[in-house]
């Protein structure tokens, strides 16, 4: 702000003061509460302006305080902006363009989205991803809750069982998928061997676990097994947060075990369940590693029966260099996740009110 001499300063203050009094009288007569609130905010702004001019400093006290506060969040926020926010906004824009990463960007309008519905691979990827989620989310939740309840009892070797069920989550994905593949190997695996020798499934009818319709089932089973340990730990923490008096009171009222679960445990766990379901859903929609490791074989290509959205995004972006189209697919994934998350937040908010 340029330095003003005293005369100018007083003149400016006077004119501001005049507008201020005008506003104050207007507020008195205004009946609409919304407009009133707006005016009161304006009065505050005028007051601050006058203060700043009077004290002759560059920044008012409030502005300084704000700046200090912003400086505290800056390190994180700048990183978030550069590496997350800007790329996301850019991906939004890119979905309406055609770009190969080098040549000038071309405007494409909605054509990328229109193409999606005729794209066999996109439709297959979308279908597989949704099926995978529908299969994985409820089953993982149920399995981890059951595990948590069992391992929350005072059973012998509780520590060992807790560790064992957490182990798949810690183990390297590459290592355990190789083991999984050996177990389910179509002609040499022990699972198919068992089916052949004990259940007398003819050799040419033995299930092909990693191709065709069964590949999704394999992926779902694998994910449940790998991730239930992690969600079990979260549920355990939730279970231990339930006060014992509630169970005591329930037993005094003669509640059965099932009733205790139904009316004490489950409602008390609702916020834990909410967290688990949101995280599970988001992680499921992101599935890529499990599909590649289990279904892709040597040359890293997924067929129609095993392709998933993230793989297709990667393929379109970095193999075919069709960044616009791949961003359009990414937007579909974004909307899917957004939709599911909104529904869950809504449900949770309703439950909280009850």
């Amino acid at each position: 702000m340029p330095k003003m001499d005293e005369a100018q300063k007083t003149a400016r203050i006077d004119s501001l003061q005049e507008e201020l009094t005008g506003l104050i009288t207007a507020v008195r007569t205004e009946t609409d509460s919304k407009k009133r609130r707006k005016m009161i905010a304006q009065i505050g702004a005028y007051n601050r302006k006058i203060d700043t001019i009077k004290s002759g400093k560059m920044l008012s006290r409030e502005a300084k305080r704000d700046l200090v506060a912003y400086s505290f969040i800056a390190p994180n926020f700048i990183g978030f902006c550069v590496f997350t926010l800007i790329p996301i906004v850019f991906a939004f824009a890119l979905a309406f363009m055609n770009w190969d990463g080098s040549n000038p960007v071309q405007w494409a309008g909605l054509s990328n989205f229109i193409k999606l519905k005729d794209d066999v691979f996109f439709v297959a990827a979308l279908k597989n991803t949704i099926l995978y989620c529908v299969g994985t989310v409820p089953l993982t939740m149920a399995a981890s809750l059951a595990l948590a309840i069992v391992l929350n009892q005072k059973v012998k070797g509780r520590g060992i069982f807790r560790t064992l069920s957490f182990f798949p989550y810690v183990a390297s994905l590459v290592a355990i998928t190789s083991v999984w593949k050996m177990l389910f190997h179509p002609s040499k695996g022990p699972i198919n061997n068992l089916l052949y020798t004990v259940f007398h499934v003819p050799q040419d009818k033995l299930p092909q676990w990693f191709t065709g319709g069964l590949v999704l089932l394999s992926m779902i089973l694998f994910s449940i097994w790998k991730y239930m340990g992690y969600y079990m730990v979260i549920y355990l923490a939730g279970l231990q947060g339930i006060p014992g008096e509630l169970y005591e009171a329930a037993s005094l009222d003669g509640a059965t075990t099932w009733q205790k679960f139904r009316y004490v445990t489950w409602p008390q766990l609702s916020s834990t369940t909410f967290f688990v379901v949101v995280m599970l859903t988001i992680n499921c929609f992101k599935v890529y590693d499990v599909a590649i490791m289990l279904a892709a074989g040597g040359n890293g290509t997924l067929t129609e029966s095993s392709t998933v959205l993230v793989y297709y995004i990667y393929q379109k972006a970095f193999i075919d260099w069709n960044l616009g189209y791949s961003s359009a697919v990414a937007m579909v994934l974004f909307l899917l996740v957004l939709l599911v998350t909104i529904i869950q937040f809504r449900g949770q908010a309703k439950r909280d009110r009850v």
Binding site: T84, L94, Q208, F210, I319, W321, F345
Partner: protein, 463 residues
């Protein structure tokens, strides 16, 4: 409520971060491609003046300014010829230092294309592993058209035996091949001797090949012998079909592949070869399959010759299992000249972004020329320029099969590139790969898979 919506948005945003990574470095792209083209035109005008000095490279003045060329390669540790080429070039060019950057072989072309996006690259020379990757780089203007240099230095493209024609884009050539592999049939002589079956020959038809594979097969548990082995690549099965020279993978109609899918799937059903689904589940590498000593015949590229020689010498492969091997020409369909086979070229080119295009070109010319060819041949690799000396070097290598048929097998009659250049070749390639997987794994019948190929590729071609 507002806060809630915000947090919903942020949660969703967090997960899509992963997907949005492709957005970086956007604004700079235009300027880079501009610079690229400007660089090209400048350098070509410069070069016409300096072409004479460049072509007499052996007596290049020692006082020339020191230049460092950054060169993109893969698998430096297991592929000796990179170092050989670098040493040979640096020995005659005191002022030039070649700096090799290893990008790994698995997704080399993807990594390279990412490196060359935007204007952040400092590569001068890049190796180009396959044609789809080449097409990508050309469309991204990441590599230079070499025609002006080729004309100025009088490089004779005839020496490449037609390979350069199949990668010419709109009359311009953006790479020069320095390695040219072709497919042959490897066979294990010990297995044939044990069965008392005569060795395969250089002029088998497909019927004879199929018959031979079945004759060699032994499905007895514990002493299995597979008559044939097909790796999981598309090229291993469906490209038998393009050897008649009438079809290419860019046709948009793939009905002609049916007989070969039938042959291989029938063999699979009869236990003549390992099952595709087993191979993908195990991730079995073709080299492990052949060196295990239970595969009688395997079709594979000539790069495997150098691997066999090196690994048998080092003792990595058990010579009692696969030490007695030979090669013959690819089988041929009726009425097609024997010796028609598939080829894969490895090219080298100059990036558009390089500051020293002349020096980079000189290195490219060296690697792809006769001197480079001699270096390649000395380690058992097939140079793009197949001179008699290079051929002699390879067949006289210690460890190369000594029979005449194996030597004769190296004479190629017609070479068809696995993937010739086309604008959408990368997408076509993905589609064919996908449905090859579907057919081979039994997800689709042969007819369904081929119908899908026809449908999807036609869509791409129609764009």
């Amino acid at each position: 409520m507002k806060k809630k919506i915000l947090s919903v948005l942020l949660t969703a945003a967090m997960m899509s971060t992963l997907l949005a990574g492709c957005g970086n470095g956007a604004g700079s792209a235009d300027s880079s491609s501009d610079q690229g083209t400007a660089g090209t035109t400048d350098s070509t005008t410069d070069n016409s003046g300096t072409a004479d000095a460049g072509s007499s490279q052996t007596d290049a003045p020692a006082s020339a300014e020191p230049v460092t060329l950054k060169w993109a390669i893969w698998d430096e540790a297991t592929t000796p010829y990179w170092q050989d080429l670098k040493d040979a070039y640096e020995a005659t060019h005191d002022n030039v230092t070649i700096e090799m950057v290893d990008l790994g072989s698995t997704d080399y072309m993807t990594v390279l294309a990412t490196e060359l996006s935007g204007d952040g690259t400092d590569f001068d020379v890049v190796t180009i592993k396959d044609v789809p990757g080449y097409a990508t780089l050309v469309q991204k203007n990441a590599i230079m058209a070499l025609d002006d240099y080729i004309a100025a230095d009088g490089v004779d493209l005839g020496k490449y035996a037609g390979a350069t024609d199949q990668v010419t884009v709109d009359g311009k050539l953006y790479e020069l091949p320095f390695r040219n592999d072709f497919w042959v049939v490897f066979y294990n002589k010990d297995l044939f001797d044990a069965k008392g079956v005569p060795y395969p020959t250089n002029d088998m038809t497909f019927e004879q090949y199929d018959e031979l594979a079945r004759k060699m097969t032994d499905t007895t548990f514990g002493s299995q012998v597979y008559g044939a082995h097909y790796h999981t690549w598309r090229s291993d099965v469906q490209l038998f079909a393009v050897l008649d020279g009438k079809h290419t993978i860019l046709d948009g109609n793939y009905d002609y592949m049916k007989p070969y899918y039938e042959m291989v799937l029938d063999q699979e059903a009869d236990g003549v070869c390992r099952k595709y689904t087993d191979l993908t589940t195990e991730g079995l590498h073709y080299s492990a399959a052949f060196s295990g000593g239970d595969v009688a015949m395997m079709n594979m590229g000539s790069w495997f010759i150098a691997t066999m020689i090196a690994n048998l010498q080092s003792g990595e492969y058990d010579s009692s299992l696969c030490g007695n091997w030979g090669i013959v020409k690819y089988p041929h369909a009726d009425g097609v000249e024997p010796g028609s086979t598939l080829g894969t070229i490895t090219g080298i080119s100059v990036t558009s972004a390089t500051d020293t295009p002349d020096a980079a070109w000189d290195f490219v010319k060296f690697v792809s020329g006769e001197e480079g060819a001699a270096v390649m041949a000395s380690s058992g690799n097939f140079p793009a320029i197949m001179t008699d000396e290079a051929m002699d070097l390879i067949v006289n290598l210690d460890g190369f099969p000594t029979d005449d048929a194996s030597k004769e097998a190296l004479n190629v009659a017609n070479l068809y590139l696995e993937v010739p250049y086309a604008e959408n070749v990368s997408e076509i390639n993905s589609i064919l790969d996908t449905y090859h997987g579907s057919i081979m794994s039994g997800e689709m019948s042969i007819d369904e898979g081929i119908a899908k190929m026809n449908e999807e590729v036609t869509k791409v071609l129609g764009q």
